[in-house]
């Protein structure tokens, strides 16, 4: 298993690591049993622009790197734009992930969505794209790896 330089960079120097007090929305996905938890904090302004975003992650190198990249990709964006963030986009922005680690990017996408759902609930907003959103078990580690 080998990480790209981008992954290593985001793991060694994670962007947006930390917490936001009184965040507009907080999302947490994963569970400690499986070895990954991502928690994302959003600070959304009145124009639905994500002014700030922070994360805390328990998990492997790629879990931390995808959290870092995902937060960077939505920072300063509108909620609409953030909704469009896909796990593939995160993985690509990191120059790819080893197949066994793709679930980390799924987790990152889900953590963003979970934070947005929390934001919507707190603010009584309906985000149609997130109605009935399901958090699949992202843990399809595959079976053929080394």
């Amino acid at each position: 298993m080998q990480y790209s330089e981008k992954v290593m960079d985001h793991f060694m120097n994670p962007r947006n690591m930390g917490t936001i007090e009184n965040a507009s929305g907080v999302g947490e996905v994963g569970n400690p049993q499986c070895g990954d938890i991502m928690r994302i904090y959003l600070d959304v302004d009145d124009n639905q622009i994500i002014k700030d975003v922070k994360f805390k992650t328990f998990g492997c190198g790629s879990a931390i790197a995808t959290s870092s990249m995902a937060t960077e990709m939505i920072k300063g964006k509108t909620i609409k734009e953030a909704l469009e963030l896909t796990n593939k986009a995160v993985a690509e922005a990191l120059d790819g992930l080893p197949p066994v680690k793709m679930h980390c990017s799924v987790l990152a996408e889900q953590a963003v969505k979970a934070a947005l759902i929390d934001y919507a609930q707190k603010n009584n907003i309906v985000i149609p794209e997130l109605e009935g959103y399901e958090f699949d078990d992202a843990h399809d580690h595959g079976d053929e790896e080394e």
Binding site: M1, M12, T19, C34, G35, T57, G59, C60
Partner: protein, 398 residues
């Protein structure tokens, strides 16, 4: 990256071959390369080298040379012992007893015997230190039991099992006893006769010999089926042109291990204890895994709460330190190490495990360097961890 410093602390995974070992192997690649089974002079040299290596390995474990059969490694030895004994004794019974903390070379072979060949396996629990209970073992024995296989020293947590007592129970019930001694060889005193072992697996690359070579000790009188069928090598028990350079290297490594045994164990034990004590003092919320004293002299195994092992390994690697972890992420499976779960660790703590195993090339300075740097790494990851944050919020962590 600060890669100039390189501190290898994964000796239980594999060791470098010692220079003396390589030097002794070299002539057999290009010159003394003959087929040991052939009649001409080239072959005779090879045969003599083979005989000497067999004597050296036998001497390390108190066996007769004719009881040592060379294989391609620990995994093959394990597979051979289990399948060979199972198929040979099928008419007597189909039940095998093992423990939950065996190496995958044992567990997956037994799984295969269960699923594909109709054998039945009992997996004994271990206590929080990783030891099996002799009472459980006695209770698990049935009329159909044909084989007991319990490892000598566990590869993750270093715990030493009560081999002599297990052998006595096996003998009392006339059941074959195999032990996977891959981690034990060269690191704990082994005398197969005194211990009453019927079969024992060994691997060269764990004792500073080359990779791709191992051996199975089969006590005189014990009959098992072959695993690799074909030519008449290894007294017709293991086919394949003999890997002379590899076997010579294993022989030399065994010789060195025997001669340096006391020194080796003393040094490792001292450094290991220093490492364990140092880390335990420096890093709170840490559990030491494995038995405190009945333990591989080079094995230190920690579980750091609130963090995951892979990140730790990457940050350690960045500082030039190599270790290993029982976390799921590093193994590519969903679950953390079966060994850590078997000693009762919860999943989330098991994910934060770190195994550092030291060896003959480890220095006092290496240990100091790790004691100095590991706490920073653990803290850095804890600062990123939502679990740590929650623990602080709840007061569990101050």
């Amino acid at each position: 990256m600060e890669k100039s410093k390189r501190i290898y602390m994964d000796y239980s995974a594999t060791t470098p071959a010692k220079q003396e070992v390589v030097d002794e192997m070299l002539p057999y690649f290009t010159e003394g390369f003959g087929n040991a089974s052939s009649i001409y002079s080239y072959g005779k040299e090879a045969k003599q080298a083979l005989d000497q290596a067999r004597e050296r390995v036998a001497a390390l474990i108190g066996a007769d040379p004719q009881e040592v059969y060379f294989t391609a490694g620990g995994s093959e030895s394990d597979n051979w012992a289990l399948e060979g004994a199972a198929f040979k004794n099928r008419k007597k019974g189909n039940h095998i007893i093992t423990s939950k903390i065996e190496h995958h070379a044992i567990l997956h072979t037994l799984e295969y015997l269960e699923k594909t060949h109709g054998f039945e396996v009992t997996y004994l629990d271990v206590d929080q230190d990783g030891k099996i209970s002799l009472e459980d073992l006695e209770n698990a024995i049935k009329d159909e039991t044909i084989l007991i296989t319990i490892m000598f020293v566990n590869n993750e947590i270093g715990t030493i099992e009560p081999i002599k007592e297990i052998a006595e129970i096996a003998k009392k019930h006339k059941i074959l006893f195999h032990t996977d001694a891959v981690q034990a060889l060269g690191n704990v005193e082994i005398n197969v006769k005194d211990l009453g072992i019927d079969m024992m697996s060994m691997s060269s690359h764990k004792i500073y010999g080359p990779k791709g070579v191992g051996a199975l000790y089969i006590r005189k009188g014990v009959m098992i089926d072959n695993l690799i069928h074909g030519g008449a090598q290894e007294r017709k028990k293991r086919a394949g042109t003999e890997n002379i350079p590899g076997i010579v290297g294993f022989g030399k490594a065994a010789e060195l291990a025997r001669v340096n045994f006391k020194e080796h164990v003393e040094k490792l034990t001292r450094l290991r204890d220093k490492l364990i004590d140092g880390i335990e003092k420096a890093i709170p919320y840490t559990k030491i895994n494995g038995h405190r004293t009945d333990r591989h002299p080079g094995n230190a195994n920690f579980a750091f709460k609130y963090i995951e092992g892979e990140g730790m390994l990457l940050l350690l690697d960045h500082l030039g330190i190599s270790g290993s972890s029982g976390s799921a992420c590093t193994s590519g499976s969903l679950d953390p190490s079966h060994v850590l779960l078997a000693i009762g660790l919860e999943h989330e703590i098991a994910h934060g495990s770190l195994r550092l195993t030291i060896g003959d090339f480890t220095t006092e300075e290496d240990v100091d360097y790790v004691i100095e740097n590991l706490p920073k790494i653990v803290q850095r990851l804890r600062d990123m961890s939502p679990l740590y944050e929650s623990a602080k919020a709840s007061g569990e962590v101050k």
